[in-house]
């Protein structure tokens, strides 16, 4: 450990005094209610803010003043116009406050953190996105990235599962996608409701029939852990190499930068080595219960 002797003084002198855990104050520009429990917040960021430089799949730490902060993926935005979007599902203390924000309100933000989907690795082949519930939010910027260079990919497939037919995020955008002939969109709901004529069942069931060539496919999967496990397994069973299947892991995250230790999964700091990891990395870790 010879190099350690020089580390402290050099690193300590070079470190910014504030440190990575001091958030910036940002303002809510627009609020769009997606479903009964989910809203999309468009946040106005000061010019040059690093969070405008996000890569699809990365997340920010968000929190109203004095209430803690939680990791929320970037779901889109117009960085050139100075805004980023986050789509938040109200499940508890902090997310409820986030969902209650109104235009003009201020909140605290740190980021962007973590690894990205790197959808461009799929250029020249098929791209399959599989989303469960709120999991569509982190995938949306990757989908938009692919659609912005549509001719560089072969088949583009989005498989989307929600609990009920009404839990659909980004519904207007999905309507437009459904009309496109160069995108395959399949939606299924876990539970049917009166009047629902669409598919019923879990999203994993869609993998078997979807039009893609396993040998050229890059698959991006986001949803609850069981859903990702079953989906990745189905993709691998169809012949997609595990290294070409990517999932976004959720673990407790208090810092987002590798310092607090909470997000560890085996050797990974999920906040910096993830959240997006390939299935050949994730599978052996998730196989151990309570790892």
């Amino acid at each position: 450990m010879a190099s350690l002797a020089e580390l402290p003084r050099a690193a300590a002198a070079a470190a910014p005094a504030a440190g990575p855990l001091v958030p910036r104050v940002v303002r809510v520009e627009r609020v769009h209610r997606e479903t009964r429990d989910t809203v999309t917040l468009a946040l106005r960021l000061p010019p040059g803010d690093p969070a405008l430089e996000y890569r699809p799949g990365q997340f920010d730490m968000l929190g109203p003043l004095g209430t803690g902060e939680v990791p929320i993926s970037v779901s889109g935005g117009a960085p050139a116009a100075g805004t980023v979007e986050h789509t938040v599902r109200d499940v508890g203390g902090v997310t409820r406050l986030l969902c209650g924000l109104r235009p003009g309100d201020e909140l605290l933000l740190r980021g962007p953190y973590g690894t990205a989907w790197d959808a461009e690795d799929g250029v020249g082949g098929d791209v399959v996105l599989v989303a469960g519930g709120i999991g569509l939010a982190p995938l949306r910027p990757a989908l938009l990235q692919v659609l912005a260079a549509r001719d560089r990919y072969r088949n583009v497939v989005l498989l989307y599962g929600t609990r009920t037919p009404r839990d659909l995020l980004f519904s207007r955008e999905l309507d437009r996608l459904r009309r496109r002939r160069d995108v395959v969109l399949e939606h299924t709901a876990d539970y049917a409701e009166a009047g629902w004529r669409g598919r019923v069942g879990v999203v994993t069931d869609l993998v078997g029939r979807a039009p893609f060539d396993p040998g050229t496919t890059l698959a991006l999967v986001c949803g609850p852990e069981v859903m990702m496990r079953l989906t990745a397994t189905a993709l691998v069973d169809r012949g997609v190499p595990a290294s070409r299947v990517r999932v976004s892991l959720e673990r407790a995250m208090l810092c987002g930068v590798g310092l607090c230790g909470h997000c560890q999964l085996g050797p990974l700091f999920v906040c910096t080595d993830g959240p997006v990891v390939s299935w050949d990395t994730a599978a052996p870790l998730l196989v151990i219960r309570e790892r």
Partner: protein, 384 residues
């Protein structure tokens, strides 16, 4: 200790060193006898050191005892490590305020870190604890995100290490390659010699240490002094209470994640977290958020956390690690296996504190022995 330029400082002249360290208002911290343990506190002269005291340690027990001789550093390690100075249990991350009730204009600012950054001298750092500081440096300073409070505290520290001549029954630094003699990362290294004249071998490990040494009333070490120092190290190794053949452990633990021994240790472990609090390398933290009654101002504080707490792995829907089995496994496999993947070194330096301070006497060297002795190759597949 390096063989070049070894000097001898008479015990009677030790206070010259303490005064030199304190120059310019530098805070000198070292071992002091307090509340029945050898703790860390301000040292103004040799009289503040635990002269003539030692510590007896075994699993679940710690006791200070008078020594037959007058050694000043004749003990092993107390419950506190230097983590309490460089990475204290609480550190303010930022504070913020709203312009006024109901108004906009939130402002957030980083704390004034001048008190944290106060120049310090750490006197009497054991080689295990020196290695632990090196590991915390790697974790908290050696990656893109640097811990700002630790960086401030670490920026101006003089480290005076001391060879461990009287290891405790719980010590195993020799097998971890971290002791008993300090090797790197110090400014000055001392070896206390009690044969004949009470004196200290002194070696410099940095330009700063060399400058300090040059100003001390020392003489050049003779062969007899060197031999006495080498003998002390050899007898210390021979007396080391425990041993862990660490080489194969990281890989072996990777294949032992479903070993029945985890159930066995979980039946004894209280999940109290004492082991993580006394460990000099454990770095996990939580945050505490405080607000005034109207929510107009707020502050966030980093506090030590433990992977043994129920909430540590909490995500919406429940903790990932619900059972003591999984929490103990996380702790031990992190220390001895995944830490190597993350930082290129184990997260254990063999100080033995977790063995001494475990209320039920769980001994990680024994657990590792049981786990890697007969390991289960195929992890049982999770039920679908």
């Amino acid at each position: 200790m390096s063989a070049d330029r070894l000097e001898v400082l008479a015990a009677d002249d030790f206070d010259v060193l303490v005064r030199a360290l304190a120059e310019g208002g530098r805070e000198v911290l070292g071992p002091v006898l307090r509340d029945g343990v050898i703790a860390i506190g301000p040292v103004e002269s040799a009289a503040d050191l635990p002269q003539g005291w030692t510590d007896e340690q075994e699993r679940g027990t710690y006791r200070v005892q008078p020594r037959a001789d007058a050694a000043w550093f004749g003990y092993a390690v107390g419950p506190q490590s230097w983590k309490s100075v460089l990475f204290p249990a609480r550190a303010l991350l930022w504070s913020g305020a709203k312009g006024g009730v109901g108004e906009h204009g939130v402002e957030v600012s980083a704390p004034d870190r001048s008190a944290a950054a106060r120049p310090r001298a750490l006197l009497g750092v054991r080689s295990c604890d020196l290695a632990a500081i090196g590991i915390q440096d790697r974790v908290l300073l050696g990656r893109p995100a640097v811990d700002a409070d630790y960086a401030a505290r670490r920026a101006d520290v003089i480290v005076v290490a001391v060879t461990c001549g009287f290891p405790a029954g719980t010590c195993f630094c020799a097998s971890m390659g971290t002791g008993p003699a300090p090797r790197t990362g110090y400014d000055l290294a001392l070896t206390e010699l009690l044969d004949g004249e009470h004196r200290f071998l002194v070696a410099a490990g940095s330009p700063r240490g060399a400058a300090l040494l040059a100003a001390l009333p020392t003489r050049v070490a003779e062969d007899a002094d060197r031999v006495a120092g080498e003998q002390l190290v050899a007898s210390s190794v021979a007396r080391m209470g425990r041993w862990l053949d660490v080489g194969p452990v990281p890989a072996a633990l990777r294949g032992a994640l479903e070993h029945p021994r985890w159930d066995d240790v979980a039946a004894r472990c209280l999940s109290c977290g004492s082991c993580t609090l006394v460990c000099p390398t454990c770095f996990c933290t939580a945050v505490e958020e405080t607000t005034d009654l109207v929510g107009a101002s707020a502050a966030r504080t980093r506090v030590w956390d433990s992977c043994f707490t129920p909430g540590f792995s909490y995500i919406h829907g429940g903790a990932v690690r619900q059972t003591t089995r999984s929490r103990y496994r996380q702790w031990l496999t992190h220390k001895m296996s995944t830490w190597v993947d993350q930082f290129g070194t184990p997260g254990c330096v063999g100080c033995g504190r977790c063995i001494t301070w475990c209320p039920v006497g769980i001994d990680l060297t024994e657990e590792v022995g049981a786990l890697v002795g007969a390991h289960v190759d195929e992890p049982q597949r999770q039920d679908r």
